[in-house]
Assembly symmetry: C2
């Protein structure tokens, strides 16, 4: 009867408009209708990536697209740097190790970002680095790496390609891949893009295409040259996820209705601030500092004295509010409040209200309404601007 | 205004029930709800494969699943036999060549099937064949290879694994993978399975798992061991295509409503016979012989004297009937009538009727209604049984 209020880092809720769009009749992927849909829709995604380059659509999860970025650019034995600040950075390390790359791991404590200076120092002594991999938004810790500055450091201290995992923030965070100097930017459908899982997005700089052309890629489905070749014809090498592309067109409509992508980014920034201020007002810790806090997901420390597993279970069973737990060694230490994609400031107010109800049930010491009030203040201030 | 009558070999039309099921709210892929959905649904798919083994669900197109079957079992330089009777057999050859396998190609003329005897003769002189790859249903020619007999030949003449591409027929053709001796059977969602593209299915025999365990697979997303490990927990290694799994549950309901999978197979057999008899009555050639004709797609020769491209264009523009053209050197020679998945005998009657209207417009010499009548006779005979 009650709707589960899914405030996870993904998959995230799907707008009704998108669901309806996805119910459109199937068309052939080799038809003129498809070519029109594909061209028009991928063009509309370009501003979200901050590029004029093609947006390639892979019928796969984000992991496959990350693997494609790696395997199309680097060969076994070559040097790569992987910046890892959490579970998904480690994921990238595993992909690179699987392919026998010589991985130099720039590892930060979970909850920290990687700074431009740190990356610069790390790169300086290294030679012949083929690619630097970074996570833009680390889903496990709610850290948004300063990706524009990291790109700068890559360009200053190496000739490497800069390859960025944008899975859990693209569509909700600013991205200027060309201006910043990102060579390959990857995202998935099921996070800030408001779509079900099953579609991934890859955009590749001219510089990276040159490397890819010379690289002997040991992959078939994930061969980016083949995607580029077909994209020139407005198609994909294999059967594409047609329904998700219908949905993507609806997502682009919704972003347009919101007033353009800058507004969408501003909404995410606002939601982030609302969540953070409410937690501060409740005297509950935040894993990330304000400077590097993610606009799409907030990692919140266990409220003092609470059994986190019990608390999360109670919120779900009693109030149908569904937060995600911590990953790896942060399990039991933090929980994660997803506020991306089809999520609005009103949803943040709702979630904080319900969370306060749960805190009251668990006899946490606070003034009922204090968190909501802090969020309201941020909300009102934004509207008054 | 008019609905496009999509009679392609895939992607194929989606039932409304499936569309509605896919509109269900998104759940976390790490939740108990998901585990229940995954376990229950994959168990219901087992009879369609003719197995009690796990059905692994990959969030990808069928090509990726075929690549997974290859890359998880064979290492570069090892011998494989690829049976190719058309474009999709050639596709499998490309995958194997991409990975540096030593490919022995058993090639048949397009429109022919591969027989048990031919495979036996081909295998006899070969040594150390790691795997034999075959297409069950060749989409480009409408040929259904005698896969049960081919499996027998593989077992008789080699120790190789028998790996089968069932993409364009599983769900509409009989499959007894364990009884017949298929080691890996693969299919995709967008053909006879009545789902949108984006989900693929893989089932692996115990014998094949042993090979996979010892094989050093150079793939991350397509690593089947990782799918097996997570499947044991009722989950998938990466974010699964949750909405397509909702849809899959609805597909299983529909098959149950039809009276079980044997009835679904019988419906496809009936549609095949209706199409074939109608074309014979119209004096239009068929590429495949009756013995090896596909239950899901019929390749029809260009009616005498017609410009095929013009004819197909006319059918689509005038009557909204959408057939697929021929591939490769068969372009202009044949067209392909898809009758799989969400397609019923009544749809065949409709399509043949409209096709006859088009034939009349193109002054093809025939008795109007003759094709439909032949299809009706097959239809009635089946109902009188």
């Amino acid at each position: 009867m009650y709707t589960n209020i899914l405030r996870h880092p993904g998959p995230t809720p799907i707008p009704k408009k998108v669901q309806l769009a996805m119910s459109e009749d199937i068309i052939s992927h080799r038809s003129e209708e498809f070519v029109n849909l594909y061209r028009k829709t991928t063009n509309r995604v370009k501003p979200i990536f901050g590029t004029e380059q093609d947006i390639l659509l892979l019928p796969s999860g984000g992991t496959a697209a990350l693997e494609a970025a790696a395997v199309n650019t680097v060969s076994p034995g070559e040097n790569v740097v992987v910046i890892t600040v959490g579970a998904f950075g480690d994921y990238f390390v595993s992909i690179c190790e699987k392919y026998g790359f010589n991985v130099h791991k720039l590892e930060k404590e979970w909850g920290q970002a990687c700074t431009e200076e740190e990356l610069g120092e790390f790169l300086k002594p290294l030679k012949d680095v083929k690619a630097v991999f970074a996570t833009y938004n680390e889903t496990s810790t709610g850290i948004l790496n300063p990706i524009d500055k990291l790109a700068q450091a890559v360009r200053t201290y190496s000739d490497a390609l800069f390859i960025v995992d944008g899975v859990s923030c693209i569509g909700g965070a600013p991205a200027e891949m060309n201006k910043w100097g990102i060579d390959i930017l990857v995202t998935g459908s099921q996070k800030a893009m408001m779509l079900p899982p099953g579609l991934s997005f890859v955009s590749v700089s001219d510089r990276a295409w040159k490397v890819i052309e010379e690289n002997n890629t040991p992959a078939y489905y994930l061969n980016l040259l083949s995607y580029r070749e077909w994209a020139a014809k407005g198609m994909t090498p294999n059967t594409p996820a047609v329904t998700l592309i219908y949905g993507l067109a609806a997502v682009c409509d919704m972003i347009e209705e919101e007033g353009g992508f800058a507004q969408t980014v501003a909404r995410h920034e606002l939601m982030k601030n609302m969540v953070r201020e409410s937690m501060k007002a409740l005297n509950i810790g935040l894993l990330a500092s304000d400077e590097y806090a993610s606009p799409t997901i907030t990692a919140i420390r266990t409220p003092e004295g609470l059994d986190l597993a019990q608390f999360l279970k109670h919120l779900k069973q009693q109030y149908h509010l569904d937060f995600a737990g911590g990953l790896g060694h942060l399990q039991g230490e933090i929980f994660r409040f997803g506020h991306m994609g089809y999520c609005f400031p009103s949803d943040v107010l709702q979630a904080v209200s319900l969370m306060e109800a749960g805190l009251q049930d668990f006899s946490y010491s606070f003034e009922l309404g204090a968190g909501v009030k802090a969020a309201q203040e941020v909300f009102l201030a934004a509207h008054r601007k």
